[in-house]
Point group: C2
Chain length 101, copies 2
């Protein structure tokens, strides 16, 4: 096994970051509202506009928590990160297209 490729590093970072927060309280393998809030503010603050209000966290939580148990599991977290990455890619492509016309 050689050194990790960029894609392998990306996967490892997603897994590591989720467990850094999910392990703090309650179920070790899911994010509670408090853990999700901490993750969003500390890890995605600059993307989500540093909104520290509960309303934004509640909205993300309600969107994510597909099975309505008040906890976000790893699959739900990956769906959020996927949606954010697609949005981010669209944003950069649009900037690039505009800068070339």
């Amino acid at each position: 096994m050689g050194p990790s490729s960029n894609l392998e590093s990306a996967m490892q970072m997603l897994i590591k970051t989720f467990h850094k927060y999910s392990g703090k309280e309650g179920d070790k393998y899911t994010l509670s509202r408090g853990e999700l809030k901490e993750l969003l503010i500390e890890e995605l603050g600059s993307y989500l506009g540093n909104s520290k209000d509960n309303e934004a966290v509640e909205k993300v939580m309600n969107d994510l928590d597909a099975n309505n148990d008040g906890e976000v599991d790893f699959t739900e977290f990956i769906i959020l990160m996927g949606a954010l990455t697609v949005a981010c890619n669209d944003f950069f492509l649009e900037m690039f297209e505009n800068s070339c016309t």
Copy 2:
């Protein structure tokens, strides 16, 4: 803006890697079969068992190419990466559980 968090780096790596390959031939914003094959072998070789045969690439391509146009767009690529990351997380959790019982 401070330095990128791990999650932000992961998103940037996914975007950068996709475009590194998608820009090589044909549509700049999608992966052709040839580009997908190159990406899978060079970036995920150790996860996918270094299978350099066309059959494995064809299988992934057919699974990914939801709209059947022979090209993989960024959203389809992110769905693959999400599925791989969830599988990878399950694998590590299982190893961890087994080592603790």
